[in-house]
């Protein structure tokens, strides 16, 4: 039960939304999919005085591509991303990650913008967007700026968003010749990732590694981005390389989360196992 009364706004334009946000500062919360916010309000974990529902704001939806990038509006729902031919063509691991979020009902409402801004350490998009080198367009009443996904996540539930800022689009650079895969380890269907791994790899014509990027989610308080290219460039792909990827990833997990589900030692090991599995899937 939500115990604290609140005022509710449904702005129709971004300008309206930003103005309301500026006016009420941190007493206001944005409502997008509501799949995290409303349960948290029901549990009494957050009690905002003002709710700004941005589901009707023009210009925040839609998936489109340009010659260089895939551009996804902040309030695009997970099920749209999961079933989009465009996304699957350009960056399959994003579509894969979206299809793993929660359950079918959650995917009908939850949004990419909401998930990214909530920054739950176990959210499926986070490692994927970092590996993909996504850029977030962020606006307030005065200006817009671009923030790299690799610099956006500061801590659990903490991002680089400043007061009064709204994430408006997620922009993913197109890359040719890469393959990508996303592996999620959840203990219960529809649950958060206990650990997850997003991998992007590019091979040259001789099946040697040219680029290797790994993103780990659910293991530390924020996603861990690892550019493994320096250690693996020029290597021919084979079983031992996969095992080295695993070892390399595991060794770089510094501060894994321990909770009721699993302790840090397990999460650290799983980061490596999932990275290896995602890597092997990239190779086909």
């Amino acid at each position: 039960m939500i115990s604290r009364p609140f005022e509710y706004f449904t702005p129709k334009t971004l300008g309206e939304a930003l103005a309301i946000m500026k006016r009420f500062g941190d007493e206001a919360k944005l409502l997008a999919g509501g799949q995290s916010l409303v349960p948290m309000m029901n549990l009494g974990l957050v009690a905002p005085r003002y709710i700004i529902d941005i589901n009707k704001v023009r210009g925040l939806s839609g998936i489109r591509e340009t010659s260089r990038a895939l551009i996804i509006g902040a309030i695009v729902r997970h099920h749209e991303i999961a079933s989009s031919e465009t996304v699957r063509r350009i960056i399959p691991m994003l579509s894969e990650a979206a299809s793993h979020i929660g359950d079918m009902h959650v995917r009908h409402r939850g949004t990419i913008g909401g998930s990214v801004c909530h920054a739950d350490p176990a959210a499926d998009y986070l490692p994927v967007l970092q590996v993909a080198d996504a850029v977030f367009e962020v606006r307030d009443t005065r200006r817009k700026r671009l923030v790299k996904a690799r610099e956006f996540f500061k801590d659990a539930f903490t991002t680089a968003l400043k007061d009064g800022e709204v994430l408006t689009t997620v922009q993913i650079p197109k890359r040719n010749g890469w393959s990508s895969a996303y592996e999620k380890l959840e203990f219960v269907a529809g649950g958060f990732a206990v650990a997850s791994a997003a991998v992007m790899v590019k091979l040259n014509e001789r099946s040697e590694i040219e680029n290797l990027m790994v993103g780990i989610g659910g293991v530390e308080r924020r996603p861990v981005f690892l550019d493994l290219t320096p250690g693996f460039a020029g290597r021919s792909v084979g079983r031992d390389v996969a095992e080295e990827v695993e070892a390399s990833v595991t060794s770089r997990v510094r501060d894994p989360i321990s909770d009721i589900q699993a302790d840090g030692e397990y999460r650290k090991a799983m980061a490596g196992v999932l990275a290896r599995r995602a890597f092997q899937r990239c190779l086909g």
Binding site: P39, D53, M104
Partner: protein
């Protein structure tokens, strides 16, 4: 002041009320529209007992504020039913003992109705995957999956 006007269509009928902003959609459906078939099991969006159709998609009505339903079309289990007569999905559940206490059943029926309407071929494992957003504590899901398999088979959609 902390209240909003809600105008929404549920099962084809329009409901208008000024409600506390804190009212969840599931509470609007139950307390304002008087349609108590939609049940509340957790209020954290985990159990799916409150599943309804909103603008053609299944949603957990405990994760939506009532005021968010302004201008929307909602279907609840009552909208799939005709008094106590059983439609083909309900009749299949009845014959296969797929409902015990009945608390998860309305949400389950909405989800099954939605899945069948997509006309997508599914295997038993895929059925299990698609139903995983609706928890049941009584049946162990065995007869629910059996019922959905039967319904798909009838349409030639069981993989």
């Amino acid at each position: 002041m902390g209240e909003s006007l809600v105008v929404t269509r549920i099962n084809g009928r329009e409901y208008t009320a000024k409600v506390d902003n804190r009212m969840l959609l599931c509470d609007f459906i139950r307390d304002v529209a008087g349609l108590t078939g939609t049940h509340v099991g957790c209020m954290t969006g985990n159990c799916g007992a409150c599943t309804v159709l909103m603008d053609g998609l299944t949603v957990k009505s405990c994760t939506l504020l009532a005021v968010q339903a302004n201008g929307s079309e909602i279907t609840t289990v009552e909208g799939l039913s005709n008094g106590l007569a059983l439609n083909p999905i309900q009749e299949t559940f009845h014959r296969n003992y797929a409902a015990q206490c009945g608390y998860c059943t309305p949400g389950m029926l909405i989800t099954v109705h939605y899945l069948l309407s997509k006309k997508t071929p599914m295997s038993a494992d895929e059925i299990r995957e698609k139903l995983s957003g609706n928890l049941c504590r009584c049946t162990g899901y065995v007869n629910i999956v059996k019922s959905v398999s039967e319904l798909l088979k009838r349409e030639g959609l069981l993989k």
